[in-house]
């Protein structure tokens, strides 16, 4: 076994220090070939303890020896900040209020204790402090965005990455008013569940009329609310939402049943039978068993802050389940027979939006552009990530008619974005896409793809320089004349991996900047702090097109069906026609016609729409007609000849 597996077994005592049981949950990229475990623990002092674990099942038994490491299942670090108008309660006396379970131990219980007992090694960051109430803005109440901003500014541990750390804000009130007692506000951005808030001046400060100990009631309610909101940051759902599934097929990490009567931090006290009085009469300050199982044993990514999205190992929160018949269909697909991509091959998918209604529809031009779609990528064994493209386009508003049954198409270059290379490592991935079309939310079926393992040591060597931001940008923007390191890496990939799909992308990125005049903004070195390009004596230089060199780099590959598959039909056509047009503009209409004809040949065998073939064919005819005429030099041809 060379992969990391997460497994859970139900154990029974088989003798002193000896347990056996069946494995009922596994998590990993490969099938786990074992079904039972036998565990023998030796040693008395914790530090000297070892556990010999024997796995049995469909493979030969496997024995592993584990040394004692910790009394906790997981670490977690808390930081509490408060506004001056808030009244934090981080500990209470369990007997302060007379309405309690008869056998409840009397003690001072802190929020740290609550999570320590749930299985965490709780530490504090040392950064607890006050934050100005003025950050809540002129209205004096907090929005989710204001809290998220405050978290980034005041939390000493804030980072855009998963970590076992949580920021807790105590404030007076949320923008929603006194009805909101607290919220795990951080479902913003790519790293959810890092921050949670308690609003101490909301309804939770109002004891029931006639309560026997109103002050203790309020302290207990504020304390309970904090434990509750912190629970959401550990990805715990409300007690009555345990079985809730989403329309994309996601759901709880294991089958669950709702617990509407549970005496847990994750239930609402006033929603149980008998109301909050009945709740607290039987509340022993702990989570339910199913919640403890999740907190202690679920895969790290489901629980850890900043990892799996809120309420989700579902990967994708479905924005719509209206039941109304949607009149669009959105498909994600790859231009190849099987959705298998080579290692290092940039994954370019294709989006297809179809009008499935009976009436023509007006849709925005460029409706499938990267700025208009939400793509989420879920690798096996990893949290879902939203694809964040390198660029967004602002287009002049325009619409086009989409007749019933008609479709529009766009490439979806999901391999990399400002998140980095979201699809790079070998393994399986699922891609969902959602978008809004004329007020309707349209969601694709998940598209599954696989990245194969490296075929050679050469590929592994290239990979270390290849999966970088510079190379990602160079590929996305169709080459660069500025990012020299990225250009060098692409050159290296093209030379060292001939015949690979990665080499086709690399050559395209190397060739495309050469087909037209290329403007570069040059700023003199050693300039003082830049106030403007003009002030720094910057200069725009234009490097003339070098079309023949572009053809020398890529030309031979543009007639191969592999180029159409890996670049995607749309990008392949655009790139090839761009070079053919540049050739024609330079006066080389014969080569231009030949290239356009090669494009037609490849697309004819690729199952593209007849309309596309007609358009490509017309250009072949036009170029052949021009080539047959007596030569008349174009401006560029004259310039290339030094005229």
């Amino acid at each position: 076994v060379t992969q990391h597996f997460h497994w859970i077994a139900s154990l029974t005592l088989a003798g002193p220090g000896h347990w056996t049981g069946a494995i009922w949950y596994t998590d990993g990229n490969l099938p786990f070939p074992y079904r039972t475990v036998d565990i023998e623990v030796t040693g008395t002092l914790p530090i000297a303890r070892t556990a010999v674990v024997t796995f049995s099942g469909d493979a030969a038994p496997l024995v592993r020896v584990y040394r004692w490491e910790s009394t906790a299942f997981r670490p977690v670090e808390f930081e509490f900040d408060a506004t001056p108008d808030a009244n934090p309660v981080v500990a209470i006396g369990t007997h302060d209020h007379p309405n309690r379970p008869p056998g409840l131990p009397q003690e001072t219980l802190s929020l740290d204790d609550v999570y320590r007992r749930a299985g965490f090694a709780v530490t504090k960051s040392g950064g607890d402090g006050a934050i100005p109430a003025t950050l809540a803005g002129a209205n004096g109440t907090w929005s989710d965005a204001e809290m998220h901003d405050a978290m980034q500014r005041f939390w000493s541990r804030f980072t855009d990455a998963p970590q076992w750390a949580l920021w807790v804000l105590w404030a007076a009130r949320h923008d929603q008013g006194t009805k909101l007692g607290g919220v795990m506000f951080d479902d913003i951005g790519p790293n959810h569940r890092q921050g949670t808030a308690i609003f101490t001046e909301s309804f939770i400060k109002n004891p029931p009329p006639g309560d026997a100990a109103p002050e203790a009631w309020v302290r207990r309610m504020r304390f309970w609310t904090a434990a509750h909101e912190m629970g959401h940051a550990f990805n715990l759902a409300h007690a009555w939402q345990k079985a809730l599934t989403t329309p994309t097929g996601g759901g709880p990490w294991i089958p669950q049943v709702n617990e509407p009567e549970s005496r847990s931090y994750m239930n609402y006290p006033y929603n149980v039978s008998g109301g909050e009085s009945a709740f607290y009469a039987d509340f022993a300050y702990h989570f339910s068993d199913s919640e403890l199982l999740f907190l202690r044993h679920a895969p790290t990514r489901f629980v850890q802050m900043g990892n799996a999205e809120w309420f989700d190992n579902h990967a994708f929160e479905q924005p719509s389940r209206s039941g109304r018949r949607c009149e669009y269909r959105l498909e994600v697909r790859a231009n190849r027979a099987k959705p298998v991509f080579e290692f290092l091959e940039p994954v370019v998918l294709e989006l297809k939006l179809t009008n499935t209604g009976t009436d023509p529809k007006l849709v925005r031009t460029g409706v499938l552009g990267a700025s208009n779609v939400l793509a989420v990528i879920k690798a096996d064994g990893k949290p879902a990530r939203q694809w964040l493209p390198y660029a967004h386009q602002c287009l002049e508003p325009a619409v086009q008619v989409l007749a019933p049954g008609d479709s529009v198409y766009e490439p979806l270059p999901v391999y990399a974005g400002v998140n980095g290379w979201d699809i790079a490592e070998p393994g399986r991935y699922r891609v969902h896409v959602a978008m809004e079309v004329t007020g309707e939310t349209v969601i694709s079926e998940p598209f599954e793809l696989r990245i194969t393992a490296p075929k050679s040591r050469e590929e592994e060597t290239v990979a270390s320089d290849y999966f970088t931001e510079g190379v990602g940008r160079a590929l996305y923007f169709g080459g660069t004349a500025v990012l020299e390191s990225a250009t060098d890496t692409l050159q290296d990939a093209a030379e060292r991996l001939p015949g690979s799909r990665a080499a086709i992308h690399a050559k395209a990125a190397l060739a495309l900047p050469l087909v037209k005049d290329y403007k570069t903004l040059s700023i003199p070195g050693g300039s003082p702090k830049l106030t403007s390009a003009v002030a720094a004596d910057a200069e725009v230089t234009v490097r003339p097109a070098e079309v023949q060199q572009a053809v020398a780099v890529i030309g031979g590959q543009l007639g191969a069906p592999e180029a159409a598959e890996t670049l995607g039909h749309i990008t392949y056509r655009r790139s090839t026609e761009s070079i053919a047009a540049a050739l024609a503009d330079a006066g080389d209409t014969v080569d231009a016609a030949e290239l356009q004809n090669a494009l037609l040949d490849v697309l004819s065998g690729s199952g593209v729409l007849p309309k596309v073939l007609e358009e490509v064919s017309e250009k072949v005819t036009d170029l052949n007609a021009i080539a047959a005429k007596p030569k008349k030099r174009t401006t560029r041809a004259k310039r290339n000849a030094g005229a």
Binding site: I204, L244, S322
Partner: protein, 102 residues
């Protein structure tokens, strides 16, 4: 009884992009697609003033073919909660005190 009543209507659990229409006295007061924010169990809310009680309240979820209606007695300030229960039925409740969300 003719006096002003402040009515807070809160769309709560169970909504996933559903179009919800709420009418009072036969007049549509709310007509929106709503999605429950799961960490607080609340999707949307609105407040209206009505000058009499009881008031007939009708909730329609046209895409699911659901309708629920009830005549509600109102306190001077009143709260109505509307959700979808586990069985996909409209849950229409009310009380003369605020609901709390956590």
């Amino acid at each position: 009884v003719s006096t002003d009543h402040i009515v807070h209507v809160e769309l709560r659990e169970g909504w996933q992009g559903d179009l919800v229409q709420v009418s009072m006295d036969g007049q549509i007061r709310f007509d929106k697609h709503v999605t429950t924010r799961l960490q607080i169990g609340l999707a949307d809310s609105f407040t209206v003033t009505v000058d009499h009680e009881p008031v007939p309240v009708e909730v329609r979820v046209p895409d699911r073919g659901l309708t629920a209606s009830r005549e509600i007695r109102l306190a001077a300030e009143h709260w109505i909660g509307i959700g979808l229960d586990d069985q996909g039925r409209i849950d229409l409740v009310d009380q003369p005190a605020p609901y709390g969300y956590l």
